[in-house]
Subunit: 304 residues, 2 copies
């Protein structure tokens, strides 16, 4: 079964509902509560698919499950408040492992002001499966969707990209504080977190907004890890920055004047870089230092 | 690893948080939102532990995952609004199965006015694992906890109990409408849904309220399925009604006068029966038709 096909099916059969401002198909859902908006998202980590126990300790695993969900809330420009956790253990899982997993979950939630209010555990034959659902709060702000990018927008990204598999995929910081700051102080048009890879996640913005984009090859902030990884893989560091998943940085678009104001103020703890612009003509293009455009195909880690 | 021990650990390490009115350890969590209360719960169904694919079709499985979560919201006396679903498929799961599962989920959610707003899918080596998280709304009502039972309360239950494995475990109706009606029109002191078995779930109320109870053997509404099952198992039908899980009926306590008013009005679509009373002295007792008390031990399906 191909998951991307399945998700398309789910989106297609989804019925509109007046309380639901944004359903399946963004980083998180936006739901009208009795007197405000709720943001909801869920992350699933499956042993053998998303992690292997020989590479990832239980505390790190708990941390990652929570941090990935928080990153989805950040991608909406909102604040995270509450989490629910479900875990399917193997019957053979030792209690010590389960307790350390819980500690990873609780420590990470606490660090970002989030309370774990409930969940479920089950034990079975299978691989470990962890799902974390996080509830967020708009605090009166407008949630930032993938679908709002406009021709002429600057494309910006926080931090550096690529090579996260060398360690950052377990140590990344969800950009909650930065996202809320940006949403409060700038008029963001669209935003997503880079979980699948820059080109693939930008592709989601382009598709949902019905636009295209040009990325400036020279401006993409390639991480040192991408250079290190490139020596092993034979790919270029740029290619890693474009297609590696799990950077969990914010990718967002806003008008050029707003972007310039952001660059001038530089108020975030992590640098933000202008890496391209949105245009009306569809397709994703890379501009090299000579100004030559080359069409690229979104690539990265396809999960959902 | 014993899950009940693990959950005790999770409750013990849980830190109090001012926005959280009720965390781990009730049917659902109660969280203070910006301008109201949110109810949150999550259900997990693991193949091989909670169901077997040879007994349960994909539509029924989707139905059950949603309905069990809705029953938890009902147990709080609240309304369900929104659901998120995560599924770990086997890599070999056919698309047809996945689509029917989604249809079971969506049909059931729609029937109870709930919108599926998002989720996650993954494919792996393991057994099927489905988690459903449901968000509910108090509509200005007070959520009913397990911890409010008072000595002198009548103990009441909706519907009939026992033998659900013969079919009802896949066809049960979450008592959402009844629960909200009861919460709106009666002063309920405590409530839970019977997922693990009458005696075990009543045991949760007794433990959390610090009280004991007497059940009237003659009054317990034993279902026809319990009689049918008893013929096979050699246990008594009463024993099945006391200990079989997955009836998903409401078990609640309220003052005797309130209970009598409810019996007189009989306003619910499903009958409600007074089956015992709460008393100060701890322990769970069964009173036979001669008035003789016999101490019983809570038993049932221990999952969490």
């Amino acid at each position: 079964m191909r998951e991307s096909v399945y998700i398309k099916h789910l989106r297609a059969v989804q019925k509109p509902s007046k309380g639901v401002l944004k359903g399946i198909g963004d980083d998180a859902a936006v739901v009208r509560g009795p007197k405000g908006l709720c943001i909801l998202t869920t992350t699933a980590l499956l042993e053998g698919t998303h992690f292997r126990l020989q590479d990832t300790g239980p505390w790190e695993l708990g941390r990652k499950a929570v941090a990935a969900s928080l990153s989805d809330i950040a991608a909406m420009g909102c604040r995270a408040t509450t989490a629910l956790v479900s875990v399917a253990f193997r019957r053979s899982t030792p209690m010590r492992f389960a307790k350390q997993l819980a500690r990873g979950i609780n420590d990470t939630a606490a660090k970002y002001g989030v309370t774990v209010v409930g969940g479920n555990t089950a034990s079975g034959r299978g691989p470990l499966f962890i799902t974390v659902t996080v509830l967020g709060d708009t605090d009166g702000l407008r949630p930032i969707l993938r679908s709002g990018a406009r021709p002429g927008d600057a494309i910006m990204v926080t931090g550096e990209l690529g090579g996260s598999i060398l360690g950052r995929h377990l140590r990344f910081e969800p950009r909650l504080e930065e996202a809320v700051y940006l949403n409060r102080n700038f008029r963001l048009h669209s935003m997503i977190d880079i979980s699948d890879g820059l080109s693939l996640d930008l592709g989601h913005i382009l598709e949902d907004s019905g636009v295209g984009a040009v990325l400036y090859e020279e401006q993409i902030p390639v991480s040192r890890a991408a250079y290190r990884l490139a020596r092993r893989t034979g790919k270029t560091p740029l290619r890693h920055a474009l297609s590696d998943g799990e950077d969990y940085e914010l990718l967002f678009t806003l008008s050029k004047p707003q972007a310039e104001m952001l660059l001038k103020k530089n108020p975030l703890k992590v640098p933000a870089t202008m890496i391209g612009h949105i245009r009306k003509e569809k397709g994703l293009f890379l501009k090299d230092k000579y100004g030559k455009l080359r069409r690229i195909r979104p690539e990265g880690y396809e999960h959902l």
